[in-house]
């Protein structure tokens, strides 16, 4: 960015970024007026403030928003010829859903995979839905207002909305959805709405939410139609009429498309809902989603034109360069929300560390820790990403990922004890009694069948860099997770996706009580799982309760830094989010939300 226009843009973005964070932390309305917070549409300034208050705003996002109101999200790269500017409506799109054998459910209460809510988001609605230009929009809520203490939110619902089965939509449906989602026996997402104490019907088209504490992310996360899933509005009538099994396959919603067919494992068909509240959408008549488990047939299908778009899991990394080289395909790549790591069993020699609470300097004197640090420092992330992921990923040093924006420490790659320093790593290994890897036992790396390539690159790297032999122990995910939970491994490759909040990274992974931290281990012989540090536990607990995002960020980054320095795991990389489609498809930037595949604005030319 050297030309004057770009400099101005940068200044404007920096100024907007500063203003977004400039408010009194104790104010329950985050320095905004009640008017600002009322719907149907939030201004860019309001959304930026809410994102800043929630701690999810990045400067890059502001730059993108300043550059073009409806620009693609930051970090987006595209290839292929620009699609013909067509406003054609109608037509049928066939989408391949990668790396999956079946769409197990479309019932929001049971959805536990991103690839499921990518489809559900086209069928069901929420009170709100955010778009990539940082503007929160009412979905089923037409406008809303908030009480002075930020605890009572009143939503006016859209009039004349009908369910796909013709029944009218009303406040009763919102209350029904809330009560259903609140019950852990009926929904797996009850925790998402823990802060909402009550959902009351005021009249047929008005509902009131009562919160326990002010919550900046209410509109953009909790009530969001896809990622929240607890408040994705479902039809009581349809659930009762169809039964849970059928509702999970062909849910009745109020979204732009209605499900007309779902053969488990063979595909889902959705068709344009004629009575959708926005007469301009959707553009397409019909969309068919076909699950395609194998990478090569997936590639052949889009190259042959049998499918025109790839959604679902990320397509295999080795295919992306092939897609980029194909002028008939468009590849859109943005930063993805997740991390991958190699976990080291601290209860096995020679990597044994029985107490991570000691200061780092003391730990560094222990042979077991020297080995762990040597393994982490000999891990050349750039080479790994190049060889195992064909360059698609970003070096990782902790569980907190770059998509978390504000919380992500962009300098952790320079500060972390895990940074790549081969000679130091070799010296550490020698100091631990294994010069040149001599006498070091063979380690087994537990991984899944899709992780084979990455596993081989890792094994090769340790052989080359440290003279250590690593053998792959490839097991199905169901077995791997059981071995992981009972700490039955030397090294284990595992990670996470869909992490939008620091809690997803720290609470789920890095606390002594984290759900992945060896929950089924023998506690007599292993007092903790793969990692336990009292300071990390305390910092993680504290950050959850803080209203001040800057304070929260400081604690999140501190905890993340400790897990990185004390080698809670060898953090390898953060994956990217990739969408591939044929040039006859126009997938507007307005719909390019990382992790989602909203097709209501998508068109296809014959």
């Amino acid at each position: 960015m050297t030309d004057p226009a770009n400099r101005d843009l940068m200044h404007q973005a920096q100024e907007e970024y500063r203003r977004a964070h400039d408010f009194d932390r104790r104010d329950p309305l985050f320095g905004l007026s009640k008017n600002d917070l009322s719907g149907p549409r939030l201004s860019r300034r309001t959304v930026m403030r809410l994102m800043a208050a929630a701690g999810t705003l990045t400067l890059a996002q502001v730059v993108a928003a300043c550059a073009a109101p409806a620009a693609a999200p930051s970090g987006s790269t595209q290839s292929g010829e620009a699609a013909a500017p067509t406003t054609a409506t109608g037509g049928e799109l066939v989408a391949g859903w990668a790396g999956v054998a079946e769409i197990q459910t479309l019932d929001p209460a049971q959805i536990n995979q991103v690839l499921q809510f990518q489809i559900a988001s086209n069928v069901l609605s929420g009170l709100t839905h955010i778009d990539p230009s940082l503007t929160g929009q009412g979905d089923l809520a037409v406008d809303w207002n908030v009480s002075d203490d930020g605890l009572e939110w009143t939503f006016n619902l859209r009039e004349g909305v009908t369910w796909h089965d013709g029944a009218p939509f009303s406040a009763d449906d919102v209350v029904f959805t809330y009560n259903r989602s609140k019950d852990p026996a009926q929904s797996i997402h009850s925790a998402v709405i823990a802060n909402i104490l009550d959902c009351q019907k005021v009249d047929d088209l008005t509902v009131k939410l009562v919160l326990e504490a002010p919550q900046a992310s209410l509109l953009t996360k909790t009530l969001e139609r896809s990622s929240g899933r607890a408040m994705t509005i479902v039809s009581q009538k349809a659930i009762e009429e169809l039964g849970l099994e059928q509702y999970g396959l062909t849910p009745v919603g109020t979204g732009p498309f209605r499900v007309t067919e779902h053969q488990l494992g063979q595909g889902v068909v959705i068709e344009r809902f004629e009575n959708y509240y926005d007469p301009e959408r959707p553009k397409l008549d019909k969309v068919t989603f076909i699950p395609i488990p194998e990478p090569e047939p997936l590639a052949a299908a889009i190259e042959a034109g049998d499918i025109q778009l790839i959604g679902g899991n990320a397509p295999a990394a080795e295919l992306i360069d092939r897609f980029l080289a194909n002028p008939e395909l468009v590849v859109s790549e943005v930063t993805g929300p997740g991390f991958q790591a190699i976990f080291i069993n601290p209860w096995r020699e020679p990597m044994m560390v029985t107490d991570f609470n000691k200061p780092l300097d003391e730990l560094k004197a222990e042979n077991g820790f020297k080995v762990r640090l040597a393994l982490a420092k000999a891990f050349d992330r750039d080479t790994f990403i190049e060889r195992a992921l064909f360059g698609r990923g970003r070096p990782g040093f902790g569980t907190v990922n770059p998509a978390m924006g504000f919380f992500f420490d962009t300098t952790i790659n320079e500060k972390s004890e895990q940074r790549f320093e081969l000679e130091v790593a070799q010296q550490l290994l020698a100091d631990a009694g294994f010069p040149g890897g001599e006498g070091f036992p063979t380690l087994k790396l537990l991984t899944t069948p899709p992780g084979r390539r990455a596993g081989e690159v890792i094994a090769n790297m340790y052989q080359e860099n440290l003279g250590i032999t690593v053998e792959l122990d490839i097991k199905d995910f169901t077995v791997l997770i059981e071995d992981g939970n009972s700490m039955n491994y030397d090294l284990m490759a595992l990670g996470s996706g869909g992490d939008y909040d620091p809690d997803d990274a720290l609470v789920d992974w890095m606390q002594t009580s984290s759900k992945f931290n060896g929950p089924n281990r023998d506690t007599d012989t292993m007092p903790f799982g793969f990692f336990s540090d009292a300071e990390v536990d305390a910092l993680t607990d504290e950050q959850r309760t803080l209203a001040d995002p800057e304070e929260r960020r400081a604690l999140v980054q501190q905890a993340n830094q400790i897990t990185s320095d004390k080698v809670a795991a060898i953090f390898t990389h953060h994956p990217t989010d990739i969408l591939v489609y044929r040039t006859e498809v126009t997938f507007p930037d307005e719909s390019r939300i990382p992790g989602l595949v909203d097709l209501d604005r998508t068109t296809i030319s014959s």
Binding site: G96, A101, E102, Q104, T105, L106, D107, Q110, N112, Q113, P184, A185, I188, H189, S190, A191, L244, E245, Q246, Y247, G248, L249, Q263, L264, G265, Q266, G267, I290, P291, I292, P293, E294, E296, P297, A300, A301, E303, A304, G305, D306, I307, D476, F477, T478, V479, I481, E482, D483, N485, G498, K515, F516, P519, N520
Partner: protein, 314 residues
């Protein structure tokens, strides 16, 4: 014959119950916890709730008795995943796809194998025989998924004659149904055709040397009549046995080709169930597959009596 049939059917039922019982306990002995994997993305506190819901908190023998009790009533249970779709529905949806693929694959296998086997035998040790032998071994040595991908690249990507993936039911139109199955049927049929062709060749050779063939020739019968009426019919008995096994294998074992062509047949139901440790689905699918094997064996034994009237069961 009737007594034989009753005896065989009773024995078959015993075999099926035995297999079902074995699978039930083996599955639970295999490492891997369906709920641990399922809950990787949600709150673990829901796990106990789910285990209760599916009766997995009960001792294994109690689960077995409950499963058997439901089985007698024709209830195969529900999948542990997603919307807990009933196993009978999953299987009922998969059967037409598998049957279609099996039927067409068997057709492809026979269409290649019988002429190749007969010609090889008649032209023993000639270029024709060696040529067919070469292609038979080629067909045997090429893995079906590789043949499948090769077919996709040639006929779907380059020539764009046929679709690369997917399945359409016959109710959408015979041609649409056939178009989607041609490539997968060739991919699975080729390997089986190689086995059947070799089998046909060797039994034909044996029969062609028999005295009654010489008699037939001596009687002045034409070559065509000797081959088809006298030789082939007798040579078919071992071939029918192989075809029976091949048919049963195809019904459950086309999983790799099903994955390549994105068709969810019985094989994929089974493998997907095993990978997910979705116990009710695996139990249901194995029950069906073992029934198919047992019934096919019975059918093959009965077919012998039709092909060779000298065979009688008492």
């Amino acid at each position: 014959m009737t007594r034989y049939l009753i005896r065989r059917i009773l024995a078959s039922i015993l075999v099926i119950i035995g297999v079902a019982t074995l699978v039930f306990f083996l599955l639970r002995a295999v490492p891997g916890d369906p709920f641990a994997a399922m809950l990787a993305e949600v709150d673990p506190s829901v796990a106990d709730e789910l285990r209760r819901k599916f009766g997995m908190d009960q001792p294994v023998y109690v689960q077995y008795v409950l499963w058997m009790a439901r089985l007698v009533q024709g209830d195969l249970g529900n999948s542990l995943y997603g919307s807990n779709v009933s196993v009978s529905r999953i299987i009922a949806e998969a059967i037409p796809r598998t049957l279609s693929l099996t039927f067409l694959s068997a057709l492809v296998a026979l269409a290649i194998a019988l002429p190749a086997g007969i010609l090889s035998a008649l032209r023993k040790n000639t270029v024709v025989d060696h040529g067919f032998t070469f292609f038979a071994f080629l067909g045997l040595s090429m893995p079906d998924f590789w043949v499948g991908i090769l077919l996709i690249i040639v006929f779907a990507v380059n020539l764009q004659w046929l679709p690369a993936i997917g399945y359409k039911p016959m109710s959408d139109g015979i041609w649409l149904w056939l178009r989607h199955l041609i490539l997968p049927a060739i991919a699975t049929g080729t390997a089986f055709s190689a086995i059947i062709a070799r089998m046909t060749r060797s039994t034909m050779l044996e029969v062609l040397n028999a005295d009654y063939i010489k008699v037939a020739h001596a009687k002045g019968l034409g070559q065509r009549q000797v081959v088809f009426r006298h030789a082939l019919r007798n040579a078919l008995i071992p071939v029918v046995t192989v075809m029976g096994i091949a048919f049963a294998l195809l019904m459950s074992g086309t999983v790799i080709v099903e994955n390549v062509f994105a068709i969810k047949g019985l094989g994929r139901v089974l493998i997907q169930g095993i990978l997910n440790r979705d116990y009710p689905v695996v139990q249901g699918a194995i029950l069906l597959v073992s029934t198919i094997f047992v019934l096919t064996n019975l059918l093959v034994d009965l077919l012998y009596t039709v092909i060779d009237p000298r065979i009688r069961y008492e």
